[in-house]
Amino acid sequence: MSIFSIKDVHKSFTNGEVEEEILKGVNLSLQRGEVTALIGASGSGKSTLLTIAAGLQPASNGQIIFKNENIAAYNQEQTRKIRAKEFGFVFQSSHLVPFLTIEEQLLLMLDVAETTLNKQEQQQEINKMLKTVDLEHRKHAYPSSLSGGEKQRVAIARAIIHQPKILFADEPTANLDSKRSKEVMELIQELTKTLDITTLVVTHDEEMLAYVDHIIKMKDGIVMGQGV
């Protein structure tokens, strides 16, 4: 049984008078410890699906099953807790907090996830994580002084420092050149394996598919096929 699955999710937006159905009954499931890629044409509803799955916006209809519970039925505070403790996010932009150093970004995330680690253990965890993403030397730097690739690596570090169960990534390499893109995808793949995370990543870059275990293709609001 999969750790995370989406069952018959619908989503409609109303633009003025017209109601448009963007997701028309989506089903998919993620395999623990594996990277699943979500591909499809621009506008096919990938971001909408990912953000609904991640509890960032509600579905119009359908179920999101995480740890055998339908989190689509959770209230705002319950959803927030799930996001804080069980999920990690990486987006197209790194969305780092501009007035926090790299180290502080990670401390903040541990704080938000209500970590049980003590100060010293938190510090160790952060050092370990920064080593993994190869940013030990930028520990006290502010985001404004980092390159795009470095920022994205911090964003990944922040997304997993609290050991979430699921990592959601929406086109994490869209703003990077091909060399940096590969590095970031490698990192996501490696972390998924070593930390036993379950990852859903949206991408439109064919080259990135080399780093994923499953591919799900979307077209016009439905899933076309779940391949390997």
């Binding site: 953000t51 960032l56 916006q57 927030r80 807790k81 996001r83 804080a84 403790k85 996010f89 987006f91 197209q92 932009s93 969305h95 780092l96 907090v97 501009p98 007035f99 926090l100 502080e104 401390l107 903040l108 995330m109 704080d111 938000v112 996830a113 502010y142 922040r158 929406d170």
Partner: protein, 344 residues
């Protein structure tokens, strides 16, 4: 982790500007409040320094103490019933010094009492400000309505009435100068408005101050300025935090997305407001108290610590309300807003 503090540390300039504005406005408010109080002392310290009680003047005077006359029978009766009470009169006039220079004063005379200075006939006690004008103890002063002369017996600190220095004289001398046999007013300490006498109208200390010409007009306009400044600073807080929050909508969105509670974001804003306001207010309280100490002699300025602290508390409350109102938008920010807006 204290993100409120981290943000202030990183964006010092932004918060310094807000802090200095709060500092300047509160300082200005304190100074004007000190000036209002100083002017009020200058106008009526003779009355303000009295303990709480009741003032009485004749009903036919229609609240103008100058026109009030209390007949001797009534006066004797009240004074014998209330041993700590006093009958007194206030009259504007002049004294001429040794060099025949004229000084405007307010003559005050009273029956035997420790509420006002009492002097023997031919003696006079003056407000300290006349000492600064060159009058010395032992000097002889004259008055064109007075056949005799006054010998200066001493000075008292800050006793003013209607912006003029007070001159205490003997009742007999007063009666001769103003060709009257009656006193204008009676004051009974600790009395309240339930104590009435037929033919006399009673006034609380506060009500009596309002009968002084110019006193209420002067105080009203100054107090209005003080409250305007308080309101302006409240709006300033609201506007400043509003603009800061608008700038940070993306940030709030991403913080909400990763699971930060809305209440945490409010606490962040409140902490910042509290820190800035505290520092600014402590500085302006200190500076205004310093000014209170070094204000030039002739400048009517008097600012009690009590008044300053009361105003500081009002600033706090107003700042809190302003920041909170403008912070209500934080609640509406959705976690997706930041992601759709791109780079924070």
């Amino acid at each position: 982790m204290n993100i409120a503090w981290k943000e202030m540390k990183k964006n010092k300039a932004k918060f310094l500007i807000l802090g200095s504005i709060v500092f300047l406005i509160s300082l200005l408010t304190f100074i004007i409040s000190g000036l209002a109080n100083g002017l009020s002392d200058d106008n009526a310290s003779l009355i303000k320094d009295l303990p709480e009680g009741q003032f009485y003047m004749s009903e036919d005077a229609e609240q103008t103490y100058n026109l009030s006359t209390i007949d001797n029978e009534t006066q004797d009766q009240i004074l014998s019933e209330h041993t700590d009470s006093t009958a007194f009169s206030i009259q504007r006039g002049f004294v001429n010094d040794n060099d025949d220079k004229q000084h405007g004063v307010v003559f005050v005379t009273s029956t035997d009492s420790n509420l006002f200075k009492n002097v023997d006939s031919g003696e006079i006690i003056l407000d300290r400000s006349l000492k600064d004008d060159g009058i010395k103890v032992g000097d002889t002063l004259t008055n064109n309505q007075f056949d005799d002369t006054f010998v200066v017996k001493g000075f008292v600190a800050q006793k003013k009435y209607s912006h003029s220095p007070v001159a205490y004289i003997n009742t007999a001398d007063y009666k001769q100068m103003y060709r009257t046999e009656e006193m204008q007013l009676i004051f009974i300490p600790d009395a309240n408005d339930s104590l009435t006498f037929s033919g006399l109208e009673s006034f609380s200390n506060k009500a009596f101050l309002q009968t002084i010409p110019s006193y209420s007009a002067e105080q009203m306009s100054l107090n209005m300025i003080v409250w305007f400044l308080v309101v302006i600073s409240g709006m300033l807080f609201a506007i400043f935090f509003y603009m800061m929050n608008v700038q940070k909508i993306g940030l709030y969105g991403i913080l909400k997305a990763i699971g930060v509670k809305t209440s945490t974001l409010f606490k962040m804003m409140w902490t910042q407001m509290l820190v800035i306001t505290s520092i600014a207010l402590v500085l302006s309280v200190l500076l205004s108290q310093l000014f209170n100490q070094v204000a030039p002699e002739g400048m009517p300025f008097s600012l009690s610590i009590m008044t300053t602290i009361q105003l500081a508390i009002v600033f706090f409350v107003i700042g809190f309300i302003g920041a909170t109102l403008s912070g209500l938008q934080i609640r509406k920010v959705g976690p997706l807003q930041a992601i759709q807006q791109g780079e924070v």
